[in-house]
C-alpha cells in the first residue's frame, strides 16, 4: 500500500508536468504531437516484455505477454517512424 501512495505521488507530479510542457506545443504540430504520443503510450511494452519473458509454468501469461509485445511494438515503431516522416515535411522555405 505504501508503494501505491508513492506511485500516486509520481503520477500527480507527472500530470502537472505534462500539462505544463505540452500546452506549449503550437497547433501547427498537433498531428505529430499525437502520433509521437502514440509512440510513447507504447511504453507499456516494458510491462509486456516482463510478462512475455516469464519462465516455465507461466506459459499462458507469457503468451499473452507476447501478443502484448506485438501490439506495443506496432505503437512504438509505427509512432516514432511516422512522426519522423511527418516532421521531415515541415519545412521553412527561404524566399
Amino acid at each position: 500500500m505504501e508503494v501505491l501512495i508513492f506511485l500516486l505521488f509520481i503520477l500527480v507530479l507527472a500530470i502537472f508536468l505534462g500539462f505544463e510542457v505540452i500546452s506549449k506545443v503550437p497547433s501547427l504540430l498537433h498531428t505529430p504531437l499525437m502520433s509521437g504520443s502514440n509512440a510513447i503510450s507504447g511504453v507499456t511494452i516494458v510491462g509486456a516484455l516482463i510478462a512475455a519473458g516469464l519462465g516455465e509454468g507461466e506459459d499462458t501469461a507469457a503468451l499473452i505477454g507476447g501478443v502484448a509485445v506485438a501490439f506495443a511494438t506496432i505503437n512504438v515503431v509505427g509512432g516514432y517512424l511516422v512522426t519522423n516522416r511527418m516532421l521531415g515535411m515541415f519545412r521553412k522555405k527561404d524566399k
Binding site: V3, L4, L7, I10, L11, I15, L17, G18, F19, V21, K24, P26, S27, L28, L29, H30, T31, P32, L33, M34, S35, G36, N38, A39, I40, S41, G42, V43, T44, I45, V46, A48, L49, I50, A51, A52, G53, L54, E58, A61, A62, G65, G66, V67, V69, F71, A72, T73, V76, V77, G78, G79, Y80, V82, M86, L87, G88, M89, R91, K92
Partner: protein, 464 residues
C-alpha cells in the same frame, strides 16, 4: 542481483527524461524532429534495460512479438498517406489500449494471489484498455468510411444502455477484486472485458464525422491512461510518467478542439449534435453568384493578398499539391498568399498543417485563426476550399444558429470571397451558410482539385 536492478531502474529514469525533453522540443518546428528522435532513443534504452531484468528468462515470445510488431509498425509508418493520418493515429490509439489490457491480463494469470487494490488496478487497466481498443476501432472505421456510417448513429435509450453497462462492469470489478484467486475470477474478468468492449463501441458510434478531432484526442488520452494504469500493476514509474504525459497531451488537445467548436466535452461525447435545433435561424437573404474559373482567375490575378481557408474537402479530393501549384503561380504574379487554419479543420488536430506541409508549403505561410482574423479586412481575396462551418458568419451574427458562439475564420470580411465547393449542400452541422449568399461572395462549383487545376491553367495561359 540488486545492483543490476538499481542500474536498470536508473535507465528508466533517463528514459523518462528523454520523453519529457522530447515533448519540450516538440514545441517548435525547428527542434521537433530532434525531440522525436531523442524520445525514441529513450524508448529503445528502456526496452534493452527491461530485457536485462533477471526475471526475463524466455525470449521466444519476445522475439516473435518484437519482430511482428516492428514489421507492421514500419509498414504503417511508411505506407500511410498524409490524408490517412487520422485513421492511422486512431488505430495506434487502439493498439496501445490493447497492449495495456493484455499486460493486465497476463499479470492476473501469472499472479492471481494479490491484495484487493491490485485487483482493482488490474480491473481498471482492463476497462480503460478495452474501451480504448474498441472505441478506436469504431473511430477508425468511421474515418475510413467503411463498415460503419460516418453520420452519428443514434438509438432510443442510448444513455440508459451505457449506464447499465457501466454498472455491470463496476459490479464485475468488485466481484473480481475481492477474490482474484477464486476459480470464477477469470470468467468475471472475461465478462468485464467483453462488456467494456461493447461500451467502447457504444461511446463512439453516436459521434459524427466532424467531431472526430475530439474523439481521436480523447482516445489518445485514454491510451496514455491505460499505459499509466498498467504501470501501477507492475509498479513501474516509467510507465506511470509516460502514461501521464500522453494522458495530459490528449486532454489538452480535447479541450482545444472543444473550445474551437464552442461545445463542452460532454456535449460532444454524449453526441446527437443538431438533433434539436433551436426554432428560427435567420432566413438567408441574397443570391448565389456562381463564377467560371476564368472569372475567378481575373479576381485572383488582380489581388495583392490572398488567404486560403482549407477544410476537410481539400483532403478528400487530395488537392494539397494543386493548392501548392496555384500558390506558386500567384506568388509569381506578386500576390502574397497565406493559409488560415481553423483548429478543427479536417478530421484530427493539425490535419491541415500536415497535408500542406506534405505538399511542400512553408509552415511560415500557415497562420492560426486568431492571428489571421485581425488582418482579414485588408485581404483582397479569401478563397475557401472544402470548408464550410468554420467560415459560417452565422456563428457571430445569428443567436439562433446552432453554430452561435463558435470561433470562426472571418472570411466574410475579406473584399472578395471565392468559395470552392462541390455543390450547394450544407456543412456537417446541417446549417445554411449565409456567407455563400453575400454580395462579395463568388461560388466556384466543382471538385476542388479540378477547379484548382483550371485556375493554374489560367495563370499559365496568361504567360506569366
Amino acid at each position: 542481483m540488486e545492483d543490476v536492478r538499481t542500474l536498470l531502474n536508473l535507465v528508466y529514469i533517463l528514459s523518462a527524461v528523454t520523453f519529457i525533453l522530447g515533448f519540450k522540443l516538440m514545441g517548435r518546428p525547428t527542434t521537433a524532429r530532434q525531440g522525436n528522435i531523442l524520445s525514441a532513443v529513450g524508448m529503445a534504452a528502456a526496452v534493452v534495460a527491461t530485457l536485462m531484468f533477471p526475471e526475463v528468462v524466455r525470449y521466444t515470445y519476445i522475439a516473435a512479438g518484437l519482430a511482428i510488431g516492428a514489421v507492421i509498425g514500419a509498414l504503417f509508418a511508411f505506407r500511410t498517406p498524409m490524408t490517412g493520418m487520422p485513421q492511422m493515429v486512431g488505430l495506434l490509439n487502439g493498439f496501445g489500449g490493447a497492449a495495456s489490457l493484455l499486460v493486465a491480463w497476463a499479470e492476473f494469470v501469472a499472479h492471481p494471489e494479490q491484495p484487493i487494490y491490485q485487483g482493482i488496478i488490474i480491473w481498471l487497466t482492463v476497462l480503460i484498455g478495452t474501451v480504448t481498443l474498441s472505441g478506436s476501432l469504431v473511430a477508425w472505421a468511421k474515418l475510413e468510411e467503411r463498415f460503419i456510417p460516418t453520420k452519428p448513429v443514434l438509438y432510443p435509450g442510448q444513455r440508459t444502455v451505457s449506464i447499465l453497462l457501466l454498472a455491470a462492469i463496476l459490479g464485475g470489478g468488485i466481484w473480481f477484486a475481492l477474490d482474484m484467486n477464486a476459480p470464477t475470477a477469470a470468467q468475471v474478468l472475461g465478462a468485464v472485458t467483453a462488456l467494456a468492449f461493447v461500451l467502447g463501441i457504444l461511446l463512439v458510434i453516436p459521434i459524427g464525422g466532424a467531431d472526430m478531432p475530439v474523439v481521436i484526442s480523447l482516445l489518445n488520452s485514454y491510451s496514455g491512461m491505460a499505459a499509466c494504469a498498467s504501470g501501477f500493476i507492475i509498479q513501474n514509474n516509467l510507465l506511470i510518467v509516460a502514461g501521464a504525459l500522453v494522458g495530459a497531451s490528449g486532454i489538452i488537445l480535447t479541450l482545444i478542439m472543444c473550445k474551437a467548436m464552442n461545445r463542452s466535452v460532454a456535449n460532444v461525447v454524449l453526441g446527437g449534435f443538431g438533433a434539436d435545433l433551436p426554432g428560427k435561424a435567420q432566413a438567408v437573404v441574397g443570391e448565389i453568384k456562381p463564377v467560371k474559373p476564368d472569372e475567378a482567375y481575373l479576381i485572383l490575378e488582380a489581388a495583392n493578398s490572398v488567404v486560403i481557408v482549407p477544410g476537410y474537402g481539400l483532403a478528400v479530393s487530395q488537392a494539397q499539391h494543386a493548392v501548392r501549384e496555384l500558390m506558386e503561380a500567384m506568388e509569381k504574379n506578386g500576390t502574397e498568399v497565406r493559409f488560415a487554419i481553423h483548429p478543427v479543420a479536417g478530421r484530427m488536430p493539425g490535419h491541415m498543417n500536415v497535408l500542406l506541409a506534405e505538399a511542400n508549403i512553408s509552415y511560415d505561410a500557415l497562420v492560426e485563426m486568431d492571428a489571421i482574423n485581425p488582418t482579414m479586412d485588408t485581404v483582397d481575396v479569401c478563397m475557401i476550399i472544402g470548408a464550410n462551418d468554420v467560415v459560417n458568419p452565422a456563428a457571430l451574427e445569428d443567436k439562433n444558429s446552432p453554430l452561435w458562439g463558435m470561433p470562426i475564420i472571418e472570411a466574410h470580411r475579406a473584399r472578395t470571397v471565392i468559395v470552392m465547393k462541390r455543390s450547394m449542400g450544407k456543412g456537417f452541422a446541417g446549417v445554411e451558410n449565409p456567407l455563400f449568399f453575400r454580395n462579395n461572395t463568388r461560388m466556384l462549383f466543382g471538385d476542388a482539385k479540378a477547379s484548382l487545376q483550371a485556375l493554374i491553367n489560367e495563370f499559365k495561359g496568361s504567360g506569366n
